[in-house]
Subunit: 292 residues, 2 copies
């Protein structure tokens, strides 16, 4: 199988599991909530984070099928954070992945609740999976760490505060490491933890996740200025228009491209000691070149 075929197969596994888990139910009166959760969860993302969970699990000799709920849980957590980020009181975005944002379709109240419920379901999904209890606890702890005050929430808080001031590069790096990097890193670690991998494997996963996260965010800032709105599926130049500091305003296009390459090389090298790391290495390289 080519890299693209392998990636598509992984994405299909995730898609199928999520479709199954979030079917409408006959026994409840709150299908409206479930529908709002499903709308954003099944809006066709790249499923990058679940793919990382599954591939790190495979590279550590784990049972990939048993890790599938863990992988999908990371996507639930990610989707919740996107729904809340888009809210009028946050980024106030109307468009996400080329579709109206959750609150535009279901209203703010339901969007807040859909995000809240997706966060809880992410933990429930891991904690009721068929993995041994110690692996369930370890995976859920890694997710909680990424989701909490020091991770996504702290990062988003800084991002909102950011609008009123110019940031230094270390401040922006810290913000992005929390807001975006923490969950990517957690996804990689959770793949190792689901497989019952070694501390050395977990360190390799963390290093890969951190590097991919850094490259990802710099590439994002480049695309935000360089790509077309149709390619991105969301308004372009919005950060610049808001006067926000980005890696592009700090470094310019040339240094950004060099940093993306540097972080990507670090990611490739971080996993070189794992079994069959080719997919993860090609994935890192493909993210560095992505156009949307």
């Amino acid at each position: 199988m080519s890299f693209q075929e392998q990636l598509a197969a992984r994405q299909a596994e995730v898609e199928g599991w999520l479709q199954q888990a979030f079917q409408p139910r006959a026994d409840i009166r709150f299908n409206g909530l479930l529908e709002a959760m499903r709308y954003s969860l099944l809006a066709g993302g790249k499923r990058l984070r679940p793919v990382l969970v599954l591939e790190f699990c495979r590279c550590c000799g784990g049972d990939v099928e048993a890790a599938l709920p863990v992988a999908c849980a990371v996507e639930m957590l990610h989707t919740y954070s996107l729904i809340h980020d888009d809210l009028p009181c946050m980024d106030n975005d109307d468009l996400r992945r080329g579709k109206p944002t959750n609150h535009k379709v279901y209203g703010e109240c339901t969007a807040v609740l859909a995000g809240d419920a997706l966060q809880a379901e992410a933990f429930r999904t891991i904690l009721t999976s068929s993995l041994p209890a110690d692996r369930r606890a370890a995976c859920a702890a890694a997710l909680a760490e990424a989701a909490g005050t020091d991770g996504i929430c702290g990062g988003q808080f800084l991002d909102m505060a950011e609008e009123e001031k110019n940031s230094t590069d270390s401040e922006l790096t810290d913000l992005q490491a929390r807001k975006t990097g923490s969950l990517l890193m957690a996804a990689c670690r959770m793949g190792v933890l689901a497989a019952g991998g070694t501390p050395a494997q977990e360190r390799a996963a963390a290093a890969y996740g951190m590097a991919v996260g850094a490259a990802f965010q710099i590439r994002d800032d480049m695309l935000d200025e360089l790509a077309s709105e149709a390619e991105l599926g969301k308004p372009i130049g919005s950060d610049k228009a808001q006067g926000k500091t980005t890696f592009m305003t700090l470094y310019g296009a040339e240094k950004c491209a060099a940093l993306v390459k540097e972080y990507t090389d670090a990611a490739v090298s971080a996993v070189s000691g794992l079994q069959n790391p080719d997919f993860l290495q090609t994935l890192a390289l493909s993210l560095a070149d992505r156009t949307h």
Copy 2:
């Protein structure tokens, strides 16, 4: 020690642990987020849910000190749900426990994030506690179940939808069991799970929690009409003013009082087989009589 002294001692344990865990930190730039979390978390609630965790743990022969993080985690989850319930897009409340609501003080954006972070921290706190991994996983799973689609979020979704229609008694009972009962029941079960208790003890805890939750909510509806604003620390008669169905509009004061007694008796009887259940029994009785 009298019941009141025991209760005060438990509450002080919880208060002390939370104070310690949510201290301002020198190493971060997002103390504003931490401050908003602390504001609502340390606003002086009754700490009913953590007390239930600790007491069920004790009645099952568990290590109460080791269960303290689990108890405090339930309060974090409860506090998050209150912050989000108060948001302008939900109940739009200005006052909670006699103080301005979180978004009134910190703004909507920070209030949403403070709630989001408190949910994540609740799970993180359980999952990184000193309990054995299987007990951590079991406690966190019970919390996730109560917090998710079928629990608090489903209940709050129904509560918001409720405003536009009249509910039957079974609909209102279902709504309240999800919105309020689920977390009270989870708190009781988590005490047993933290102690490594038996399935029979867990069933007793669930029955107690369900009955206390039902009595609690009916009593709440009674107080909402009968108590003064100063006693409750929040606007009175707000449900009635919104035309919402409550247990008072369905049943009237007399039948409500009879139901509170019935559920309270059920709670008292549910735990009669546990070791030294006096505290839990007195607690159920005291909740039935509460005036705020």
